[in-house]
Amino acid sequence: MNKEVEEEKRHPIEDYLRSDMLPHIWCPGCGLGIVLKAYVKALEKAEVPMDNRVVVSGIGCSGRAAGYLNQDSYHTTHGRPIAFATGMKLGNPDLNVTVISGDGDLFAIGGNHFIHAARRNIDMNVICVNNFNYGMTGGQSGPTTPTDSKTVTTPYGNFEHPFNLPHLAASSGAVYVARWTTLDARRLRDSITEALKKRGFTFIEVVSPCPVGYGRPNRIGEGIEEMRLYRETWDLREDNWIIKEDANPSDAEIELHKKILVGVFCDIERPTFMDMYMQMEPIKEKRLKHMVRDERKVRE
């Protein structure tokens, strides 16, 4: 095979993935591949330098995202990716740190870290792949499972209230909050691009099909059917890209078989943790970043 043919056979995003990890473990119809692709395309669009790209994930299907990305990648413990990423970002403020993880990881076991990282406005991006259930463990209900949905642990229908994630993120202090579905692949990519460029704590919820864990018990069908459901019964607003200014995150509740609101809910400016840390008297004198890094170099 000559070089050109070889080149042609390469997938356009192959350089961004660890091909030795493929095929991936995700089920047919899963939305995670779309999210992964949107993220790498966004890295390109946002022109994030290759060496500064860091992805941290937790546990679950989404947690595996880190391992597939050909960049510095850390697959941490259940619920802790945001806390781990906090240390990483503060340890080296040059890094562009993104957490890709699931709804259970980020909002059940990891909920506390989420609200506090948002409150502190740590400069990181959180992409939550919300499939309404714990997929990896076989489809149990979680903090985002819509009321009345069936899962293996809510066989009579979920009798709990789910989180409204954009509302939670915005009220916790995130400077950029958006929600998309995997049907909005390009909007998702552009939104991630905005988030990557934005200083501060950004949050993007991606509603993603899980045909095995969520689609089957709720008789939605395959992944494509679940996506169709977003389009048809969960009516996407045509103007969803321009609701930036007026969409109230408190209206973003997700209810079974009702319209799902997507778009950018919040895009504001607020000093980051580091901005405020650098204002501290001793640090002003010390010029933290250089000091820490130079010291490391000297000691090497």
Binding site: D72, P81, A83, L90, N92, H116, M291, V292, R299
Partner: protein, 383 residues
């Protein structure tokens, strides 16, 4: 005037503060913690001192997050540390396991208080010694130091950082409430006199980097985020390349190497102090604050003509197995006083393995250990 990183000089210093100063002297630039008695003063000292030296102090939302954050900072190339006590130590176990599995250097200070549960927040205990060894799930290596004075809080914090960096693993500084809250003379040497170890960095090109390919010493060089090495780390069982490998074929060699990494270097890591052991019939093994009362008990026993000797653990883990075994050979007995209902004594029993009778002395958590009970035990054994 900002204070320098190393506060060279003679101080009258709090044990918790000394642990923080030791960390700084070892090059710590990141501290994440959560307030908890009696370890809060370590965090307070760091909150005051780290900004002075250009480092980062962050008070996290809990100990789960604190432990995760210090691992993250270490992976970004910054030496990191946290401090806690009983209940917080329990929460940190989760990510101590992650640190052991991903092989991330970091230091955890535990100023032990009485437990279980909320127990005795303001009073002493030595009840976390086995948790220090086995507290996180799975088999993993651990290194734990047990300071017996504020001076040792300082010295051993440096040792802890050096061991963490050298062996790429979380290292514990297992002090106790009395040592932590004690104020004593602490001598801080000149910066140049302090030996500071740095982790091994990969020598080859980033493209050739294999994250878990160990050198002959079983320790893989560690690349940090942001340097182009495309680091791949996971808490899952993994192969040399850091790829998840969920099978026994990967688990076997990985765990063997992780455990051997510390075990085969045990003689280099192990630290202890001996007093009057040369001719001793009765060996008192102790650590932390209890060692200070054991020392007195041994002195009193000697005055009464009993050949007692003290063996003080400076590392609890790895346990000085060979040394203890040798001392037990031909001894009338081994006494292990501790502020718990029998923890390190079980390790002593395992190691002594019938060479001599081993007897624990329980000091009820919350009490200042008094030499009397240990002296009594020495006399019983010496009969």
């Amino acid at each position: 005037m900002l204070r320098p990183r190393v506060l060279t000089g003679t101080h009258f210093m709090h044990g918790d503060f000394a642990a923080a100063e030791g960390g700084l002297a070892a090059g710590c630039n990141f501290f994440a913690g959560y307030p908890i008695t009696p370890a809060t003063e370590v965090a307070e000292r760091m909150a005051s001192r780290l900004p002075e030296v250009g480092g980062i102090y962050i008070q996290m939302e809990d100990e789960l997050g604190s432990m995760a954050a210090i691992l993250g900072a270490s992976c970004a190339g910054i030496k990191s540390m946290t401090s806690t006590s009983g209940p917080g130590f329990s929460l940190m176990m989760e990510n101590i396991g992650l640190g052991a599995m991903m092989e991330v250097p970091t230091v955890v200070v535990n100023i032990q208080r009485g437990g279980p549960s909320t127990g005795l927040p303001t009073l002493v205990g030595q009840q976390d010694m086995m948790q220090a060894r086995w507290g996180s799930h799975g088999d993993y290596p651990i290194i734990a130091y047990t300071p017996a004075s504020p001076q040792e809080c300082f010295d051993l914090a440096i040792e802890a950082f050096n061991a963490a960096e050298k062996f790429r693993t979380p290292v514990l500084l297992m002090a106790d409430e009395i040592v932590g809250h004690m104020t004593e003379k602490v001598i801080i040497p000149e910066e140049e006199e302090i030996q500071v170890v740095e982790r091994k960095h990969p020598k080859g090109k980033p493209i050739d980097y294999i994250p878990y390919q160990a050198d002959e010493d079983l320790i893989p060089p560690m690349a940090i985020a942001g340097e182009g090495y495309k680091v791949r780390m996971t808490g899952l069982t993994h192969d040399e390349k850091g790829r998840p490998a969920i099978n026994a074929e990967a688990q076997g060699p990985l765990l063997k190497r992780l455990l051997d990494k510390v075990n085969t270097h045990a003689s280099e890591i192990v630290k202890y102090e001996e007093m009057d052991t040369e001719d001793a019939d009765v060996i008192v093994i102790s650590y932390g604050i209890t060692s200070r009362c054991a020392r007195r008990a041994v002195e009193l026993a000697r005055k009464e003509g009993i050949k007692a000797g003290m063996f003080r653990l400076i590392t609890a883990w790895p346990f000085p197995e060979d040394e203890v075994r040798k001392l037990a050979e031909g001894a009338k007995g081994v006494i292990v006083p501790e502020i718990n209902y029998g923890q390190m004594v079980t390790e002593a029993e395992r190691v002594v393995c019938g060479r001599a009778p081993v007897k624990g002395v329980t000091y009820v958590p919350g009490t200042l250990p008094d030499p009397t009970a240990t002296l009594h035990a020495i006399k019983e054994v010496a009969k």
